[in-house]
């Protein structure tokens, strides 16, 4: 879960990372009650990057200009996102701009400190200026000093930079972050450092043990995406994180991911790897997936039997009148076999909006066959390639004819 800049800066303040005086603006008229003295910077609070280049940052000298700028910013979409709020912040003149981050290297399984003496809007993470220090053992301040020295900072700035990095690392560990970034960390004419902008992403799997952070999920307009299927999205429960950028994804209350893909074939599988493989095969056969739904035993679903997960998944898609075929690709062992027929039968009997053909691909390895209900719209396959071919043929009869 990504945080907005003002939320990230609240966390910075709490751990002692220097930030400027600032104030959140929820409506243009709030500008009149500003406590931060002019001149100020007004910053659009969106999740998307590239905000400065898109015109989402305005410098203003007085209230009249500020109100006008605020009205403009509230209506300015940045990568199709409208701002959740604005941040009014004291203007700051920097003599130098640094880049700092703490990220997780998933291959090494270790946190990594990143730093560059050439920070700011044009920073390049994969440049020769970007230095990194792997925190291979328990953290101590020397890792932070090592980064500062590698970045080429000198004198008292080494201590100041390492002080900020130490606090970023503490935040990273305490809040279960995926990453924390400060760009730029400004160095003022007096030599003091200041975090002018920051990004924080909290790990989705860890949100369940950070109730206060989970509340920072923003439910406003910022994550509404015009012209995508987002309007169909069900409310996202607070215990489950959203994807960091707006995508057409629903997470059901039970924790299943339903990803909208805009095509004709609905895909439901048990397991993320199987979802990805099935999606690839449908695309290779020139079908277009409508959605992908994983009813595998990930996360919150871990304790539910497959039968229950399939039933929940079918509930989640039963109102879908916009698709041409549903492809259920289910692989399960004998221990779960009894429930599968039992989960599918009531769905077939009761289908409301969903009247399209259903392709059921299941494994015939279980010793006794599952009793599937008789239904002319239900096509059962053991072979995956055949199931995919049938799904595409039913969704696009013309395409298949042409191909032949």
């Amino acid at each position: 879960m990504n945080l907005l800049e003002y939320q990230a800066k609240d966390l910075f303040r709490q751990v002692g990372i220097p930030v400027l005086p600032s104030q959140r603006i929820d409506r243009p008229q709030d500008i009149k009650h500003l406590t931060v003295p002019y001149p100020i910077v007004l910053k659009s609070q969106v999740y998307a990057g590239g905000r400065a280049k898109a015109g989402g940052i305005r410098f203003v000298e007085n209230t009249i200009d500020a109100v006008a700028a605020a009205q403009t910013l509230f209506n300015l979409q940045i990568h199709r996102q409208l701002p959740a709020a604005l941040l009014a912040e004291a203007k700051y003149t920097s003599a130098q701009e640094l880049y700092l981050a703490v990220v997780l290297d998933q291959t090494q399984g270790r946190p990594v400190l990143l730093g560059s003496a050439k920070g700011g809007v044009n920073v390049e993470l994969n440049s020769q200026h970007m230095k990194q220090v792997v925190v291979d053992q328990d953290f101590s301040a020397f890792y932070a000093r090592r980064l500062g020295v590698l970045m080429g900072v000198q004198g008292d700035l080494i201590r100041q930079v390492s002080h900020v990095v130490e606090r970023m690392y503490r935040l990273f560990m305490q809040c279960d972050l995926d990453w924390v970034e400060i760009n730029p960390l400004a160095v003022g004419k007096d030599g003091a450092v200041m975090a002018l902008d920051g990004k924080v992403a909290i790990n989705d799997d860890a949100l369940g043990r950070h109730a206060e952070l989970a509340k920072l999920r923003f439910f406003g307009t910022a994550e509404r995406v015009p012209n995508l299927a987002a309007d169909r999205l069900a409310p996202v429960p607070q215990s489950v994180s959203p994807s960091p950028l707006p995508t057409a994804e629903t997470i059901t209350p039970e924790g299943m991911r339903l990803v909208e893909l805009g095509g004709s074939i609905g895909i439901l599988c048990n397991g993320a790897g199987l979802v990805m493989a099935t999606l690839d095969m449908v695309m290779q056969a020139e079908g277009t997936p409508a959605f992908a739904l994983n009813v595998g035993s990930d996360g919150l679903l871990m304790s539910l039997p497959l039968e229950k997960r399939i039933a929940l998944g079918l509930d989640a898609i039963q109102h879908r009148s916009d698709i041409k075929v549903v492809l259920l690709n289910l692989l399960y062992g004998e221990v779960e076999r009894h429930g599968v027929g039992a989960a599918i039968a009531p769905f077939l009997q009761r289908r409301d909006g969903l009247r399209c053909p259903i392709i059921l691909r299941w494994s015939g390895m279980a010793k006794d066959a599952v009793e599937f209900p008789t239904d002319s719209n239900l096509h059962v396959f053991e072979d995956l390639d055949e199931a995919i071919a049938k799904a595409v043929a039913l969704a696009y009869p013309a395409v298949v004819r042409n191909a032949r």
Partner: protein, 307 residues
């Protein structure tokens, strides 16, 4: 830690989290398959039994009652996995398999630092574990998909591993072992460690590597195959058509951190396919192509040996 395979039917196995629904379901199945499941642990359940498996409050109590426990399979809820694994390490257990999904990555960081110091092998998290067909089951693989043979499967996925096993079994290619290294963002043992173990394993004649988008484990594995693996390796990659930045359910299968200025995304299918090509590893377009690629590759290798 040396590279040899230490998972056999001789392992004496502990189950942590044995009374929760997954643990209680799979512990007796593992036992029925031939695994020596000798004890379970769940605080507050001392004296109970799951099937005929005795349950203890603490790992150390299980070890007092049953000596020589060398492997533990952990089914505990995700936020309790770190603690359960640390308890096992403290008690001297050196092979740990994490079935639970959704373990926070920084818990895994703490666990891996400790495990390296204690020379402990961690498999997972979010893994169905290990199966040696016909011999031992350490996890939740559906055994009926597998048949004994000479193909080793190393995978990041769960059900996709079963899919590949099913295709191999139906093609008459049995398996020496199947291991899922786990789908969570940070996992213990790597593709590389398992490639090394299967290279040295006498039962394994060829290896199937099942990767997915996200991370750079496949790239590292491909380079390692080129440098150090003599046995035939074929690969399959899931998620080639998944939109960028779109999580598909694996915590580990997300492309690229979204930091400012990161020009090249990490974990893209293009990067992985290029790495497999550079290492001359045949890549299957779909699971059903894997048996054919293996048979070609095995025939080629035999011809090279003969000539």
């Amino acid at each position: 830690m040396d590279g040899s395979l230490k998972f056999t039917a001789e392992n004496k196995v502990l189950i942590q989290g044995i009374t929760n629904s997954l643990g209680a379901t799979y512990a007796p199945l593992m036992q029925a398959y031939g695994t020596q499941v000798v004890a379970g642990v769940e605080a507050g359940h001392r004296g109970e039994r799951v099937g005929d498996i005795p349950v203890f409050d603490l790992v150390e109590h299980a070890l007092e009652a049953v000596t020589d426990i060398d492997t533990t399979v952990i089914f505990s809820p995700p936020y309790e996995v770190l603690d359960a694994a640390l308890e096992a390490i403290a008690a001297g257990i050196r092979q740990i398999i994490l079935i639970s999904s959704g373990v926070p990555p920084l818990d895994m960081v703490r666990l891996l630092r400790k495990a390296e110091q204690a020379e402990t092998l961690i498999v997972g998290s979010d893994s169905p574990g290990i199966i040696i067909p016909g011999e031992v089951l350490l996890g939740t693989h559906p055994a009926e998909f597998y048949t004994p043979g000479n193909i080793g499967i190393i995978s990041r996925s769960g059900t996709l591993t079963y899919e590949v096993a099913l295709q191999l079994t139906q093609a008459g290619l049995g398996q020496s072992i199947a291991v899922s290294i786990g789908s969570d963002r940070v996992v213990g043992s790597s593709f590389q460690q398992w490639l090394q173990m299967l290279e040295e394993d006498e039962q394994t004649e060829a290896i199937v590597l099942i990767g997915s988008i996200g991370g750079d484990g496949e790239e590292v594995a491909a380079r390692y195959v080129q440098e150090a693996i003599d046995k035939p390796v074929v690969a399959y990659l899931a998620g080639r058509t998944v939109p960028r930045d779109q999580p598909m359910g694996h915590a580990g299968a997300v492309i690229a951190p979204r930091l400012s200025g990161w020009e090249e995304a990490i974990g893209t299918p293009e990067s992985k396919i290029a790495a497999f090509k550079a290492a001359n590893i045949p890549l299957a377009n779909r699971p059903s192509e894997i048996p054919g690629l293996l048979q070609n590759h095995l025939a080629q290798t035999l011809a090279e040996i003969a000539s």
